[in-house]
């Protein structure tokens, strides 16, 4: 580890070698307390205005009287005076080596290096430009907080601290072992989280070596090593209010600098069907919405496969009028029902992805083209049939009721359709069974993904598929680490 030199020129030369080519690297040689020094910072990350105000103002008011022998202060003396004998708002821990200097500079601090002193003084004068605290677009709600996490880690930590105003909240910040040295934070409530699990997570994150860390989800392969997984027992939120609620349940939150997405672990399957609005609405309405969400999820996963299976193999389970419309439609199209359904689902996925990635100005064109192509031209040319398009559309819409389960739902839907289409009712049962096993076989840190409170273990539990009123729920709080009954 390269230590700082007592010579200012050597330190500046070393920094020049590292950052000299960068346009935002800023060095200003100054004299403070009649001692040669230099301010180093990254332009755009530290606020020069506040730095000069702070430094010069303080320097001019607190300049020591000239000594009678008219000798300037040495670097060490000026350092001691500034750090310990003045009111400069400097960081309490000095900068002692080059990596620490780089770390603080890239955090937006300004560092004062003095000639004749092997330590630097850092000033928190960050003036980083970042996306403001806005409402997250991916998590809509009717009532409750509209704040969402920003991209800056420190801002996010402050948002959590504002909500949990007790000493219980611990927020540990570490640097990940990546080329970019990205910061991440491990947050938990020390009286609620399982200390052994916190230690395990801390150790795992410290040992993780992602090439890049741009989001908290990049840690998942280290936290949950597995070659194949359909459901991941972690969840994500961009809402500080939701994150605070999870912390109060004893869960652990991981935040990464540069991403507003907070990873919550461990997560339960039932949590995908809950939202903050549940607790702000009446218990009856909240229960109704949860039942609707469960129904929508199962509809989106199983409806295409069940539709194909019933129409082809088990016609007695469909009203005859509908059955003959489906049969007539299949007869008119060149593909069998299962292939047609697969094609429509894939086309809908393409349209969804295009809608997500394309520039907003082209949004209307895609909507128009997809509506015309699917809704009219495909039927007129006899390539697709109306029952299939209707079913596929219903499942596509139902999927957005539980966006957090989007990825597994899409894959499951395709899997169920393939299984039902080419293996009939036996394939449908097999697909359902595989879905069941993938849910029941998933868990994290000893917490099973399915359970304990919600359906099917205890469907009439107080906060399961249906919810009791909040007063009753508040009598006995839920902690993720509590023993299963």
């Amino acid at each position: 580890m390269q230590k700082l030199s007592r010579s200012l020129a050597e330190n500046l030369a070393a920094l020049d070698a590292l950052f000299g080519a960068s346009a935002d690297y800023y060095v200003k040689e100054i004299a403070i307390y009649h001692c040669k020094g230099a301010i180093v910072l990254f332009d755009g990350m530290a606020s020069l205005d506040s730095l000069w105000e702070l430094l010069l103002d303080a320097a001019s008011r607190q300049a020591p009287p000239n000594r009678s022998d008219a000798q300037p202060l040495t670097g060490q003396e000026a350092y001691a005076l500034i750090l310990h004998g003045s009111a400069f708002p400097a960081e309490s821990s000095p900068v002692q080596d080059m990596p620490d200097l780089v770390k603080r500079l890239t955090a937006g601090m300004a560092v004062l290096l003095l000639d004749g002193c092997a330590e630097g003084i850092a000033f928190s004068v960050q003036g980083l430009k970042y996306r403001s605290v806005e409402e997250p677009s991916g998590e809509g709600n009717l009532r409750g907080s509209r704040e969402g996490f920003a991209d800056l880690l420190r801002v996010n930590l402050s948002l959590l601290r504002r909500l949990i105003r007790t000493p219980d909240l611990v927020q540990e910040v570490q640097q990940a072992d990546t080329a970019a040295k990205t910061e991440y934070a491990l947050c938990y409530c020390k009286s609620r989280a399982d200390p052994a699990m916190v230690r395990r997570v801390r150790k795992t994150l410290a040992a993780a070596k992602p090439e890049l860390l741009l989001d908290s989800s990049y840690f998942v392969p280290w936290l949950l090593p597995s070659w194949a997984r359909l459901f991941t027992p972690v969840s994500y939120t961009e809402r500080p209010a939701a994150a605070a609620a999870k912390l109060c349940e004893g869960k652990i939150i991981v935040l990464v600098n540069g991403s507003p997405s907070a990873m919550v672990l461990p997560a339960l399957f039932c949590e995908n069907f809950e939202c903050l609005d549940d607790y702000a609405s009446t218990a009856v309405f909240a229960s109704f919405l949860r039942v609707l969400k469960y129904a929508s999820f199962y509809l989106t996963v199983f409806l295409p496969g069940v539709f194909v299976c019933l129409a082809v193999y088990l016609p007695e389970l469909i009203p005859p009028q509908l059955l003959y419309k489906i049969a007539a439609a299949e007869k008119a199209t060149p593909l069998p029902l299962f292939a047609e359904m697969l094609l429509v689902i894939l086309v809908l996925e393409v349209i969804r992805e295009a809608g997500l990635r394309m520039p907003q100005s082209l949004g209307h064109s895609v909507s128009l083209v997809s509506a015309l192509i699917l809704g009219d031209a495909a039927i007129a040319t006899g390539l697709m049939s109306t029952p299939v398009i209707f079913v596929a559309s219903v499942t596509a819409i139902a999927l957005f009721v539980t966006p957090s389960l989007y990825e597994p739902a899409v894959l499951l839907r395709l899997g169920v359709l393939l299984a039902a289409g080419i293996a009939g009712p036996v394939g449908l049962v097999g697909a359902f069974f595989a879905f069941l096993l993938s849910l029941s076989g998933t868990g994290m840190m000893g917490v099973p993904y399915l359970a304990p409170h919600p359906f099917p273990q205890a469907p009439l539990a107080e906060d399961g598929v249906i919810r009791r009123n909040y007063r009753r729920l508040s009598r006995q709080g839920f902690n993720i680490w509590q023993d299963r009954r």
Binding site: L314, L439, S440, G441, G443, M445, P448, P456, D483, R484
Partner: protein, 266 residues
């Protein structure tokens, strides 16, 4: 939140229910005698389970014999369930897909921990319950007590064979020698399934000698003229469960410990 890695009562019960549904056949003799002898069989089996548990704790030789016989028995049950499920797939759905999925099913059985089967069992029990609830309205209108009485009077009194499954004797190996109370209920569960099948066949078909699946095919209510396929699919899901469950049980017996589940390891 950590689960114990032993099979729960619902898991064992579901396995027994699946087997009993496949094995229950109309009695050759009178239903009344069959019910009485079935009750007696269930009581005797419960007592045997308790006795076996007591012997397990006292006799090393008995334990050894038990641990040698149990895996073989589980293997035999596994093979039987596979054949039964395959027969249903072939006869009812004209499909051989079970054979294609069998390697995956056996692999899943070897990988998953008992905790996963316990969780899956609870879901499938709800499906079974739903199946029973759906079954009744379609058959109630066709059930006539007079048919049962008239048919019964014409038949000789004959006892029925007890349904004995490996799950009954699974308690001591997985619970450190103790016999959990839920094991004693398993023979009664099998008897309940048998009794429901006998009564159903008697009330609907009377003296007619029909295969058990005809009872399901007789279902008819409202807009839906048939629901036997759906009910058979519920049984098939339970059969898939039983195949995987028996694999895990076999592995537990042979290896001595349950396979490490994902939930426990992470």
């Amino acid at each position: 939140m950590k689960q114990k890695e032993v099979f729960s009562g619902p898991a064992l019960g579901l396995s027994v229910l699946t087997a009993a549904l496949a094995d229950a056949a109309a009695p050759a003799g009178s239903v009344r005698t069959a019910l009485l002898s079935g009750l007696l069989n269930a009581a005797v089996l419960s007592a045997l389970i308790l006795l076996a548990g007591a012997f397990w704790q006292r006799s090393q030789a008995f334990r050894l014999a038990w641990m040698t016989a149990l895996p073989l028995w589980l293997l035999a049950e596994l093979a039987r369930t596979v054949l039964q499920a395959h027969a249903v797939c072939r006869e009812e759905f004209r499909s051989m897909a079970l054979l294609g999925a069998l390697p995956l099913l056996l692999w899943a059985g070897g990988q998953l921990a008992p905790g996963s089967w316990n969780a899956a069992a609870r879901v499938l029990w709800w499906m079974v319950f739903l199946g029973i609830v759906l079954c009744l309205p379609g058959l109630l209108g066709q059930m006539h007590w007079a048919r049962l009485v008239a048919a019964d009077a014409a038949r000789p009194a004959r006892s029925v064979q007890a349904l004995v499954y490996a799950e009954y004797f699974f308690g001591p190996p997985q619970c450190a020698g103790k016999t959990p109370k839920h094991l004693l209920g398993l023979p009664w569960l099998a008897f309940a399934v048998q009794a429901a099948a006998w009564l159903g066949m008697g009330l609907v078909f009377g003296a007619g000698d029909y295969p058990q699946r005809e009872l399901l095919r007789a279902w008819n209510a409202g807009v839906f003229s048939r629901l036997d396929a759906l009910l058979l699919l519920v049984w098939l899901a339970c059969a898939f469960y039983r195949i995987g469950f028996l694999c895990t049980a076999l592995r537990t017996c042979l290896c001595g410990t349950a396979p490490a589940g994902k939930g426990a390891a992470e």
